[in-house]
Symmetry: C2
Subunit: 310 residues, 2 copies
C-alpha cells in the first residue's frame, strides 16, 4: 500500500470512558459537598474516594481544567474556578461513545425495538461495533442484573418492567425490602450522609423545572432509597435496593415523556418527611410513610406514550 497520508497515530484519541465518568463524578461531588469557588482540589483524596489510582483522576482533572471549571493555582495544584451549581453536567462533558451506545441499547430494549433474546453477532452489525465492544456492553448489562448469558448461544435481557405484572412485582419487592431495612435491629442513621441526601432534595425543590428532563431527579431518588437501606447495616438489603434502581433506570429510559413537575415535588416532600421521621428515630412512622410512598408510586401511571406504542 502507498502511504499518501502521514501515517501518524490517529490524532485526538479522546479521554477514556473511565476518565469521563470520573470527571462527571468529580463535578457531582463538588456540587454535593457544595464546595465554593477557590477551594483547592486534592487528587489523592479523589483517588481514594473513587477507589482508583491517581492516573485517571489526573486525566479527568485535566478535562475539567480545559472546560474552565478548574484552574491551576499560582504555584502547584488546582482550585475551583467557576460556580457549577447551575449548569447541566451532561452538557459540559462529552459522553463516551460506549456510554452513548449503552443508553441507546437500553432505550431500544425498553421500547421493544430490541428483542429480549439477542446474539452478539446480531448486535455487531446493528450498532457497527466490534465484538469486543458488544461483549463489554452485555457484560455491563449483566453486572447490573439487566441481562444474562443463555446456555449455548446468545444473551437474554431480563424480563424488564414492561407490563403491569412485572411492575407490580417490583414494587411489592421494594416494599418488602425497604421496609425491612427500616426495621433492621442494627439500623443506624448517619446524619452526615442523610444530610447530604436531604440537601440534594432541597436543591431539587428550589428549582424543580430543571430536573424534569435529565436524570437528575432519578439520581436523587435512587440515592434516597439506597441510603435508607444503607442505614440498615445489611449489605444484602443495600444490594437488593440497588438492583431495583438499575431496573427502574432501564424501564424509565424507555419512557420519553417527562415526569410532571408536581409529581417530582410531591415525591421530594414525601422523601423529606421520611427523612425527618428517621432522624427523629420514629421508625414506625417512617416505615408507614415509606410504604405509602411506594404504594402510590406503584399506582402512578406513566403519561401516554408516543402514538404507535401499544
Amino acid at each position: 500500500m502507498n502511504q499518501t497520508m502521514i501515517d501518524e497515530h490517529e490524532p485526538a484519541e479522546g479521554p477514556s470512558p473511565l476518565q469521563i465518568d470520573l470527571a462527571r463524578r468529580i463535578l457531582e461531588r463538588i456540587r454535593d459537598f457544595e464546595l465554593g469557588v477557590g477551594t483547592r482540589i486534592s487528587a489523592p483524596e479523589l483517588a481514594r474516594a473513587f477507589g482508583v489510582s491517581r492516573s485517571p483522576i489526573s486525566a479527568a482533572l485535566d478535562m475539567l481544567v480545559e472546560k474552565g471549571v478548574l484552574q491551576p493555582t499560582e504555584k502547584r495544584g488546582l482550585r475551583i474556578a467557576s460556580d457549577i451549581s447551575g449548569i447541566d453536567i451532561h452538557d459540559l462533558l462529552p459522553s463516551s461513545p460506549i456510554e452513548d451506545l449503552y443508553r441507546r441499547m437500553m432505550r431500544e430494549r425498553a421500547s421493544g425495538e430490541l428483542p429480549q433474546d439477542v446474539s452478539e453477532a446480531e448486535l455487531m452489525p446493528r450498532y457497527g461495533v466490534s465484538r469486543g465492544i458488544v461483549r463489554k456492553l452485555l457484560m455491563r448489562f449483566a453486572a447490573e442484573g439487566l441481562a444474562q448469558r443463555l446456555p449455548g448461544h446468545g444473551w437474554r435481557f431480563v424480563d424488564s418492567l414492561v407490563g403491569d405484572q412485572a411492575y407490580r412485582e417490583s414494587y411489592e419487592f421494594r416494599i418488602v425490602v425497604e421496609c425491612a431495612a427500616l426495621r433492621a435491629p442494627a439500623f443506624n442513621a448517619d446524619p452526615e450522609h442523610l444530610g447530604q441526601v436531604r440537601r440534594a432534595h432541597e436543591r431539587i425543590l428550589r428549582d424543580p423545572q430543571a430536573s424534569t428532563g435529565g436524570d437528575e431527579w432519578f439520581r436523587v431518588n435512587a440515592s434516597f432509597h439506597e441510603s435508607l437501606a444503607a442505614c440498615s447495616g445489611n449489605r444484602f438489603l443495600v444490594d437488593a435496593v440497588r438492583q431495583q434502581n438499575n431496573l427502574r433506570r432501564m424501564h424509565e429510559s424507555g419512557v420519553f415523556l417527562e415526569l410532571p413537575v408536581e409529581r417530582i415535588e410531591q415525591s421530594c416532600r414525601e422523601h423529606l418527611a421520611i427523612l425527618d421521621a428517621v432522624e427523629a428515630g420514629d421508625m414506625e412512622w417512617a416505615e408507614a410513610m415509606l410504604r405509602q410512598h411506594l404504594r402510590q408510586a406503584s399506582e402512578f401511571r406513566w403519561p401516554p406514550r408516543t402514538p404507535e406504542d401499544s
Copy 2:
C-alpha cells in the same frame, strides 16, 4: 517450517463444558422424575427443557450411551439402560477442567488463600491458564453475584460469608425475603413442583449417610428454598433467594468437614413439615416454622476446622 509431526488436529478434544453439564442435568432429571429402565428419551424434549438446541443434547446423550446409562433401541432413538438411583453422578461423569478450576477458586477464596481483590494477570500464572479462561471464570463469579469488576484494574470478590457479621446479615436477609414470599398475595403452590422437592427430601432421609459428603444435600436444600420463593410468583424474590444460595455455596465450599448426619435429617424433617403446611394452605404456620428454621440455622456453628485455621 518442517512438519515432522503429523499436523493433525490434537486428538481427543473431550466434550465441551456445556455438554458435560447437560449430561449431568439429564441424569438428575431422570432421577427426579423417577424414570425407570426402558423409558424412551426424546432429544427435542430435553432441548426444550434446558433451553438449548439439539446439538449439545445429542453429544451429552452420546456420553451417557458410552457410560452405559442409555442404549440405542433396535430401530432408532435411545432408552434408559440401567438404574441410576443409587450411583453418584459425579463419579460417573468427568468434570470439565473449567468446572474444576471454578470450584478450586471458590474453595481457595472461601478459605482466604485467595485475596479479596485480584487481577487477571495475577490469576493467569497462578492457575496456569490463559487470560480468556480467567475472564470466563471471573464473569461466571460475577454473574452469580460473587464478584464484580473494580473501576480501573482488577476484580473484587464480594464480602463473603466469613465472619459472624456477614453471616448474621445473610440470615436476616433470608428471613425477610423468604417469609415475605410465603405472605405474597399471589402465592400459589404448584403441587407438581413441590411434590418433586418433597420426593428429593424423602430420598435423602432414606439414606442420609450418602448425602453428608457430596453436594447432594446442598442441592436439595437450595431447591427447597428456591421453590418456596417461586410459589410467590414474584421473580425478584426468587432472584434474591437464588443469590443467597450462591453465596452459601461459596461459603460452605471453604468448610471441609462434613455436616453431621443428624443435622441433615433434622433440616429435612423441618423442610417436610413446612411443605405440609404450605400444601395445606396454612401459610401462617408455614411462615412461623420457616422463620424458626432459618433462625436455628443461623445459630448453628460449623464444626471445628482444620487446626491451622483461625
